[in-house]
């Protein structure tokens, strides 16, 4: 009784509602999963386990699959064939198609207008909802936490567990609340908040924690911005990132294809309203960030926590690891970041490939030209986003500027579909990881927001997007 009365956090409420068998010292909790997202790369071995044990997917109705990681983003060849990076990539795609057919799992496959990056389409279809537990064999599953869901990445063995039982074995992590007080300055985005937060917490500071993002600046974010922030909780080591649902969440979900309708919608909204953390809820760790201090951010090292303001200079190395990272990046301590030449720009990924991200980049590219030394790739997160962007002419803005407008997929974020940089190239990327070689062997990655990436594409060097916002305002004044 007293336990029921004590204030609970959003995370506590989500966790408690899904415990099938309670955790003990000897055994982890059996946690129920409401939505299982599946893609081609981390699922074949899990389906094999089911085959070995002669099992079928227990709840195909709670499972949905798509193709995103290794699918080509170039248009089909004249004969209709897709340009896979390797025959093995195609075999893996074919395997998922076969597995889904055998297990009667819905597959939003090639040619389906709902296909896209797994963390983009869940929310877009309204499958991602407050109060749900959501897993996927992908570390950026925390993205869905933006809706007040308990969403986390799992390994392939666990994918097999969920396919077979609709449950995972989990111990409850500790909780951390990151509060962004104040308002973001003009020209600063959710991506900048994410990079600032990771620099504060450190790449492993969130290990063992579930993170809740709160505060005025978080409340002011659109759902797209919230997804960007939650997406990157894993880059601070936290498997879970979440934001309490509110009117913004409800407005986003209303009338989505898979969202509840009619009386069920009213009931769902009432249920969702009870999810935010109670006053006085306890967290194992609290971090406060003044959002008004955040400037557009970039990374300069090979770990996402090596992040700094775009208008700053590269810091001095504090350790051998720093020195190695700066050497790899060919960034000199003390030199302004704006002196760094850019070879390639990637706008896309589950972090930043949504319509608002594309608009943010297009606003800067409109009427300008990508620097002739730069190759710029714009990869929408889903077929639906691609169509919506084309309907408002964003494709034309990018193409006129000299950027490439591609088919949806993960593309250069994981660089396993053939989209990648050449050795030594510096890529300004709106994705989530700047690890050595992540975007191609020897490629140097600078993480940034879509606005910063677009400005950098225009200037051919790391550029501050706020200069473009100022121009825009001046133009408006003149008009």
């Amino acid at each position: 009784m007293s336990e029921e009365m004590s204030p609970r956090s959003l995370f506590d409420k989500l966790w408690d509602a899904h415990v099938v068998v309670a955790e003990t010292r000897e055994t982890p909790a059996v946690l129920y999963i409401d939505l299982h997202l599946v893609h081609e790369v981390t699922s074949p071995q899990a389906f094999s386990v089911l085959a070995e044990r002669d099992l079928l997917v227990r709840r195909p109705d709670l499972t949905i699959a798509t193709l995103d990681h290794s699918t080509p983003t170039s248009p089909p060849k004249p004969n209709g064939e897709l340009a896979y990076a390797t025959p093995q990539a195609k075999r893996q795609v074919d395997r998922l198609i076969k597995n889904c057919a055998h297990h009667k799992v819905r597959l939003l496959g090639l040619g389906d207008p709902r296909r896209g990056i797994v963390h983009v389409i869940g929310p877009e279809l309204g499958l991602t909802q407050p109060g749900k537990t959501i897993v996927c064999g992908d570390s950026h599953t925390s993205t869905h936490g933006a809706f007040g869901a308990l969403a986390f990445g799992i390994g392939t063995t666990e994918v097999g567990h969920v396919l077979a039982t609709q449950c995972v074995l989990q111990r409850k992590p500790k909780s951390m609340r990151v509060t962004f007080d104040g308002a973001l300055p003009a020209g600063v985005t959710a991506k900048d908040m994410a990079l600032y937060m990771i620099a504060e917490v450190g790449a492993s500071g969130g290990q063992g924690y579930a993170m809740e993002f709160a505060g005025e600046a978080v409340r002011a974010l659109s759902m797209e911005g919230r997804m960007t922030l939650c997406n990157m909780s894993i880059e601070a080591g936290a498997r879970f990132g979440m934001i309490a649902p509110d009117e913004t969440t409800v407005d986003y979900l209303q009338n989505r294809e898979q969202a509840p309708q009619g009386a069920a919608w009213e009931r769902a909204v009432r249920r969702w309203q009870s999810l935010p953390s109670d006053d006085g809820a306890m967290f194992d760790r609290e971090i406060d960030i003044d959002a008004s201090n955040i400037r557009p951010m970039i990374t300069y090292g090979v770990s996402p926590d090596a992040a700094a303001a775009v208008d700053a200079s590269a810091p001095q190395a504090q350790s051998d690891a720093d020195r190695l990272a700066l050497d790899y990046m060919e960034i000199k301590p003390g030199r302004p970041f704006s002196a760094t030449q850019v070879d390639r720009v990637f706008i896309g990924s589950c972090t930043n490939s949504r319509l608002s991200d594309l608009r943010e980049a297009a606003d800067i590219m409109r009427g300008r030209k990508v620097n002739d030394k730069v190759v710029a790739l714009v990869v929408p997160g889903s077929v639906a986003i691609k169509r919506a962007a084309e309907a408002e002419g964003l494709d034309k803005v990018f193409i006129d500027a000299g950027a490439q407008w591609r088919e949806p997929g993960c593309s250069m974020c994981i660089a396993m579909n053939g989209d990648q940089g050449a050795p030594g190239e510096l890529v300004v990327s709106t994705s989530n990881r700047n690890f050595v070689g992540r975007q191609g062997k020897g490629v140097r990655t600078v993480l940034a927001s879509p606005a910063t990436a677009a400005a950098s594409a225009i200037e051919g060097r790391i550029a501050d997007p706020r200069n473009y916002h100022v121009n825009k305002m001046e133009q408006a004044d003149v008009a």
Binding site: V20, V21, R25, E26, T27, P28, V30, Y32, V41, T42, P44, Q45, S48, V49, R53, S70, A85, T86, Q88, A89, R91, Q92, R95, G137, D138, S139, G153, I154, G155, T156, T157, E158, H161, A164, T165, Q166, C167, L169, R171, A203, S204, Q207, G208, I234, G237, R239, V302, S303, A321, L324, I414, A415, M416, P423, R433, F435, V436, G437, R438, K441
Partner: protein
Amino acid sequence: MSLEPIEKLTSRTIVLRQENIDTDQIIPARFLTTTTRKGLGKSVFFDWRYNSEGRLRNDSPLDGFNPAEYRILVAGSNFGCGSSREHAPWALADFGFRAIISSDIADIFKSNALKNGLLPLEVDDKTHRRLLAAPGEEISVDLVSQTVRFGEEGWQTVFRVDPFARRCMLDGVDPLGHLMNQLAVIEKYEEERRGL
């Protein structure tokens, strides 16, 4: 995957001092198009070990040894961060490792490793520094007493490991089997929720 239970492991170490070794380093994404768990050992740390023509450089701490004698990897902090790819522990285990020692190991990697007969051992900073400084040292890991021992001075330290994962490794308990045994309770949970 059925595992060979581990109780005790005595082996020399290979040391990779770098911090934040992410799973893209352990197994680059282009090797993830496989549909089996097998055969990834030769590609482990591929870009650290092979030149641009794909020939083994033999200058990495991982090469030039008999893998049978070097089954413990000691690595810098935040080992296994980044992508959730289970291909990382599959590759390390296939290469011959049975244990990874660091001061802290990323959550998803740790969980994946434990399911593949690869012990992720988090030790205190002092022990960690001592091990990083002594590549090739012979170490004894005892999963029953949860201790790591090494060195002439008889250095001994206790490591923490999840009791369930420990039981899975010691007794060969199968986590999926454990879950399947709960199916009646899972069905009851689903039934109750339908009523809400």
